[in-house]
Point group: C2
Chain length 355, copies 2
Amino acid sequence: MKIALIRGDGIGVDVADAAMAVVAAALVKSGAPALRLDEIAAGAGCFAETGRDIEPGGEERAGAADAIFLGAIGLPSIRHADGTEISPHLRLRDRFGLYAGVRPVRAYPNAPQRLADPRAAGIDMVILRESTEGLFYSAAAHGRSDIRGDDEVRDTLRITRATTEKLHRFAFGLARKRKARGRPGRVTCVDKANVFASMAFFRKIFDEIAPQFPDIAAAHAYVDAQALNLIRAPWEADVLVMENMFGDILSDLAGGLVGGMGMAACAEIGDTTGLFQPAHGSAPDIIGQDKANPLAAILSGALMLDYLAEKSGDGSHAAAAARIERAVEAGFAADRLRPVEFGGDMGTLAVTAEV
Amino acid sequence: MKIALIRGDGIGVDVADAAMAVVAAALVKSGAPALRLDEIAAGAGCFAETGRDIEPGGEERAGAADAIFLGAIGLPSIRHADGTEISPHLRLRDRFGLYAGVRPVRAYPNAPQRLADPRAAGIDMVILRESTEGLFYSAAAHGRSDIRGDDEVRDTLRITRATTEKLHRFAFGLARKRKARGRPGRVTCVDKANVFASMAFFRKIFDEIAPQFPDIAAAHAYVDAQALNLIRAPWEADVLVMENMFGDILSDLAGGLVGGMGMAACAEIGDTTGLFQPAHGSAPDIIGQDKANPLAAILSGALMLDYLAEKSGDGSHAAAAARIERAVEAGFAADRLRPVEFGGDMGTLAVTAEV
Ligand SMILES: CC(C)[C@H](C(=O)O)[C@@H](O)C(=O)O
Ligand SMILES: CC(C)[C@H](C(=O)O)[C@@H](O)C(=O)O
C-alpha cells in the first residue's frame, strides 16, 4: 500500500520520521509487506520557499495514495496577509471529505495525570470531531468569510444532513467496535441544541440514526455541560460526537487530562482515503533539539495501520497496529517510556527506539 | 435602587430568594438602604401558563430598573417546536446590549478541587465572555438561522468592531482593578485567529486596544490550546477575553475545576444596565428538595452590589458586596459551608443562613 507522506514543518519532520520507523518495524514483525512512501512537500517552509503551500500536483498525489500521513504544518513567522496560518491541511480535509476526525484519549500508567481522582486512570474515550463543515466551513482557507470593511466580519457554521448522517453512523460503528473490546458502547451527541437551529438539526439526525444501532446506548449533552463533565467524570465518556469547532476545543481539553498534545493521536477519515497526524503543532520553539514527544505521531501511525487493515482486509496490518499500541502501553507500564515532555530523560529518538 | 427580579423556573426560584435575602442582610449591616424589587414573571413555566415567555411589559420594566437579577430559566419538558429552549434571557442580553459576560472562577478552601496539583488552590481568574454577538448572534431566539429544508442549516458568527472594542476595553479595565488587589494584571485574548477571518479581526482589535493599557500585560492564545492550558496551569490565568460561544464552553470548563456550576456566578453588563444570575440552570431533577447550592446566586448578588456601587457611587454598596464575598470565603475556610452539592449536609436554606 502507498502512503502520501507530508512531514511538514518544525518537529513535524522528526515525529513523522519516528512514526514511519515504528510502523515499518511493526510491519516487519507482523510479516507484512513494507509501505511505499510518496513524500510531498507542503507547509509554511514550502510556502516561504516556493510561494505555494503544497508542491504542484501534491494534492492529487495525496488523493491517489491509500492513506496520507502528516507530521505538522505551520510556522508562526510565516502567515497569510490576513493573519491566518498556512494550512493546506484544511484544504485536504475539504477536498477528500475527511469528515470523521477520530481523537482517542486514554490514560496510560506513569503518563501525566492531571486529575486528583484515581478513577482518572480509567479514562478511555474517543472524541469524534466532524472535520469538513461546522464552523470550519468558513475557515479563511476556503475564502467564505463575509468581511464588511473594517467594521464587521461574519463566518458561517454549516451543518448538512449528508455529512451528519455519515458522521453519526461512524460514531455508532466505532462505539460498537469498542464495545467488542469491553467499553460501555455509548455515543453521546454533544451539541448546543438548546440555542441553535443548526445544532437542533445535528441532534435530530443523531436521534434518527441511533435506533439503527439498538445495541449501543445513545445520550445527549450540551457542549458547555460536557466540558464540565470532562473535568468531573471523564472516565464515564465513551464516544462523544460533535461539530468541528466544538471537537477542536473538547479534544484538546480531554487530551490535557492525560498527557497533553504529546499523546494526542488523530485520524481523519473520508469515503475514499484517510489522513493521520498527531494533533499537535510544529512546536517551532524546540526544533532540532530532539525534545519532541513522538508518541502522538506513533499512535497516529497505529491508527493508520488499523485503517489500512480495513481497506486491504489484510490481518497483518491490524496485527502491526495492535503491536504498536501494546508497545506503548507496556513501555509506560514498565516505566521505560520517559519522554522529555513529561519531565523524563528520553528525547525523540530514544522514545522511538524504545517503542 | 430598583432591581428587576426574574426568579424563573425550578431551583431558580429558590436560589434567587437566597441571593435576595443575603443581599438584603449585607445592605443592612453596611448601613445601606434596602433595594426595591420589581418581580417579573418569565420562563418556561410562564410560557406554559400564558403562551408568552415573559409577562407583557416585562422587558420594558427590566430595562427601567437599575439592575436585573435572574434565578434560572428553562424546563426541558417545555420547548419551542424546533427543539430549542425557552430563553427570554437571550433576548434581554440582545435588547440591553449586555456585551460583557463576567464569569469569575476561583478556588475556595474546602470546596471541591479536581486537579491533583496543589497550585490549583490559587485559581483566581475571570472568563470574560462577549454575550451579544459571536455565534449567539444566530441563536434561534433571534430567528436568524438559514434553514434549507431538511438538508442543511447555517448559523452565523458575527464579530463587530463596535462591540469588540468595548469588550476589550472592559477586559483591560477589569484586569487593572484586579491588579490593584494583587492579581498579575494580564489579559489573554482567546480566539482562533489562525483559522477564521472573524477571529483574526477579534484579535486585531485586541492588539489595537492593548497599548491604551500599558500597565496591563496582553497575551494571545488559541481557544484549543487555552482549553488544554486551563487543565495544565489554570492558576496562571487572570482575565481571559473571548467570543460568546467560546466563553460559554470555557467558563463551564474553568468552573468545573473548582466546585462546578454551584459556584459559578455571572454578571452581564451593558452600557445602561446589568443582569446578574448564577450560570447554572433550573435543575428540574431537584426542584423542591432544598438541595440546590445557592452560592452561585449569592456570589452573583455580590457582583450586582459591586455594579450598583459603580452606578450609584455609594460606598455602602461596595462594602455590602465585600461583606458577602468575605462571608463565603470565611465560611469555607472554617468548614462551615458544606453544601449538599459537595457531599455536605447543608441544603439551600442552611447554606443561605450560614452566609
Ligand atoms: C491547525 C488547525 C487548523 C487545526 C484545527 O483547528 O483543526 C488544529 O488545531 C487541529 O486541531 O488539528
Ligand atoms: C441557557 C443558555 C442559553 C445559556 C447560554 O448558553 O448562554 C447558558 O448556557 C449560560 O451559559 O448562561
